[in-house]
């Protein structure tokens, strides 16, 4: 990548380029090149090392690899390439479908991960199970606590010790292909479940994940997303079992069938909603008025990390505001880091998918640790799947 465009570009031009990029008429590389976001990366690409005084990990040899356990569609592969270029360490990405699965792997031992991406409500459990280590913040210079919105960084601190630093936050709503609704805008979870039983029969997907699937079924009745109350769960179960014959699939890997038209609607996380909406404008991301989940993901280091230094280096790299901005552009999940947001185009910061209206946000709940480990909810999901 050349340095010919190192002049800052005008806001107007930036937005034009972003639109073009979103429509897919230019490549990401072109977009990054023109807007200068790529330059930041290129600069870091060892061309002018002096510009990166805080690159604490550059001095040490961190080995040739780092293993990251994360979620699907959650990174910009170009950033990993850049990281490899800079440090010599390849990034191996293992992708998971649920926090439970991550926890299970880590609990079983020998996961081999250096960095993983737990969600807010899991961190106390990891700490309780002695699976993650307190972060050595001196190795993560790019983490500046004050830059982060505490709503989305609090959960990383347990009993005053920082165990995890924030990655992204987001919401869990659903995405619906409006071509099939006859132009009708959906706004609630009630509609989600009702339309599944009727017009959308055989076209709806729910997550293979008890937290969101049960939580959003609870929302049909207006119960708390986190409810572990047996009576409320019984209502949710009744709904789920009633809906099951009408589902296309129970699967957290929902982008492919939505894209090829087999599925018309699915529970969906912010970034996936953004990605789908960018490529197919008929895909509408909806947050149920009744509420639902708001969450934040973190970076953490397992106690068993085999390449700890490389793990820290990767976290530090990914928290670099310039890198992080590139990540956001790739995956479409908002960040809680004000420094990164400064680098992002205004349009993105005002995007209704990333930043829903306040009254919608107010209705959302963070998942609770008790919800994650509740055996009754796990059993409920098993009954639902086997029904």
């Amino acid at each position: 990548m050349s340095k010919k465009n190192d002049q800052p570009i005008s806001r107007k031009k930036f937005m034009q380029e972003l639109r073009r990029y979103e429509r897919g008429s230019v490549t990401r590389r072109h977009f990054l090149g023109v807007t200068g976001l790529g330059v930041a990366t290129a600069v870091m690409g060892a061309a002018v090392p002096g510009l990166l005084p805080r690159k604490s990990w550059a001095a040490t040899d961190i080995g040739d690899r780092v293993i990251l356990a994360t979620w699907p569609n959650y990174h910009d592969p170009a950033n990993f390439e850049k990281f490899t270029e800079m440090t010599g360490a390849h990034v191996q990405v293992n992708v998971f479908g649920s926090n439970e699965e991550m926890l299970a792997k880590l609990q079983a031992g020998g996961s081999g991960w250096d960095v993983f991406v737990p969600t807010n409500y899991t961190i106390t459990t990891y700490v309780g199970e002695d699976l993650i280590e307190p972060l050595e913040l001196s190795k993560i210079n790019n983490f500046e606590a004050s830059a982060f919105d505490p709503r989305f960084s609090d959960a990383g601190t347990v009993n005053g010790t920082v165990y995890a630093v924030p990655k992204n936050w987001g919401t869990t709503g659903y995405v619906v292909n409006t071509k099939h609704t006859g132009g009708k805008q959906l706004t609630t979870w009630k509609e989600f479940w009702d339309i599944t039983k009727t017009d959308f029969t055989g076209r709806t997907m729910v997550h293979d994940y008890q937290l969101t699937t049960i939580g959003n079924a609870l929302k049909y009745f207006g119960y708390s997303f986190n409810s572990v109350d047996p009576n409320e769960l019984a209502d949710a179960e009744k709904l789920l079992i009633e809906v099951k014959p009408h589902l296309y699939a129970i699967n957290s890997d929902y982008q492919p069938p939505l894209r090829n038209g087999d599925a018309w609607m699915s529970m969906c996380w912010t970034g996936d909603g953004k990605q789908l909406n960018t490529d197919m404008p008929e895909m509408q991301y909806v947050l149920g008025k009744e509420g639902g989940e708001i969450w934040s993901d973190y970076y953490a280091v397992p106690k068993s990390a085999p390449h700890r230094d490389a793990g820290y280096a990767l976290i530090d790299f990914l928290l670099d505001p310039a890198v992080n901005a590139k990540e956001v552009l790739a995956h479409g999940y908002p960040v809680a880091d004000s420094r990164t947001n400064e680098l992002l185009p205004k349009e993105l910061l005002e995007d209704p998918i990333l930043y829903p209206a306040q009254e919608l946000l107010d209705a959302l709940e963070f998942g609770a640790a008790a919800t994650l480990t509740d055996p009754n909810r796990a059993e409920l999901l098993a009954r639902f799947k086997s029904a």
Partner: protein
């Protein structure tokens, strides 16, 4: 009959055809075709993790196949002479090993090894003689995958080889002994050539099983990523033609090996009949 056979082969090969076709897809998504390109092959070859997963799978599968064939053949030969209750115990263990679903093997091995390591690692750390350096930290990895693949495939080899041994004419062994061959030479010159097809079949089955196994490796692999695990993880990130390119390359390599082997075997056959 012919048409039926053709239909079955089509059924077997259409998915393969699709894999190959989409590996040349210029587009990023596997589901729609955007023109011809070989760029995904470049992507795979330049992807150290894909290559490493392939290498891991090859190492795991060939080690498994070698161990299973050798140990399985040894056991099959020895079990011929074992009678009574001990034989019944072995038979039961072998059949159980074959019958237990991979998923149970995976889970059982995982929890057993995790439990055993939890117990053994502190013991090793405390009692490891200092002059040998740091105590080894037992963990899931190559060894655990190979060990569990070998357990299953070895049982398979035992059954296959034993069937061949029992189908073999005992008189051939006696004929060899009668013609002055010591038991050791009889083994190499008569028994082994006779059971060799079974061993080879066992070897190939073991290799194929191990190379293709996802479920056991899913539980016991630890840090090592085998090709199926890599594919599984990649698919979750969205199916790209990269996966199809991997599939196509693996297929091409197997086919090449196969054709070469066939060619070599045929060559040897014709050589011996014209000498």
């Amino acid at each position: 009959m012919r048409i039926y056979t053709l239909a079955v082969y089509l059924f077997l090969y259409i998915p393969i055809g699709i894999i190959v076709l989409f590996s040349f897809n210029a587009g990023r998504h596997a589901s729609d075709f955007h023109g011809f390109s070989i760029k995904w092959y470049g992507t795979v070859l330049a992807n150290p993790f894909a290559m490493e997963a392939l290498a891991t799978s090859l190492i795991v599968a060939s080690t498994t196949a070698v161990l299973a064939s050798i140990f399985g053949t040894m056991a099959a030969l020895a079990l011929q002479k074992v009678k009574g209750r001990i034989r019944a115990i072995y038979d039961a263990a072998i059949y159980i090993a074959i019958m237990i679903p991979g998923i149970v093997i995976g889970i059982a091995t995982l929890i057993a090894l995790v439990t055993a390591f939890k117990f053994l690692n502190p013991v090793l750390e405390n009692f490891w003689p200092g002059f040998l350096g740091d105590a080894p930290h037992l963990n899931m990895g190559y060894a655990s995958v190979i060990a569990s693949h070998t357990m299953f495939t070895m049982a398979l080899v035992i059954v296959i080889v034993r069937a061949r041994i029992s189908g073999m004419d005992r008189a051939l062994i006696e004929a060899s002994a009668d013609l002055y061959a010591t038991p050791w030479r009889t083994f190499w010159q008569v028994t082994l050539p006779q059971i060799f097809p079974a061993i080879l079949a066992g070897f190939l089955l073991s290799f194929t099983f191990s190379f293709d196994d996802f479920i056991i490796a899913f539980f016991v692999a630890g840090t090592e990523t085998t090709l199926p695990l890599y594919v599984f993880s990649s698919i979750r990130r969205g199916v790209t033609p990269e996966i199809n390119a991997i599939g196509t390359m693996v297929l091409t390599v197997s086919l090449t090996l196969l054709i070469t082997a066939q060619f070599l075997l045929r060559g040897r056959g014709s050589q011996s009949s014209t000498q």
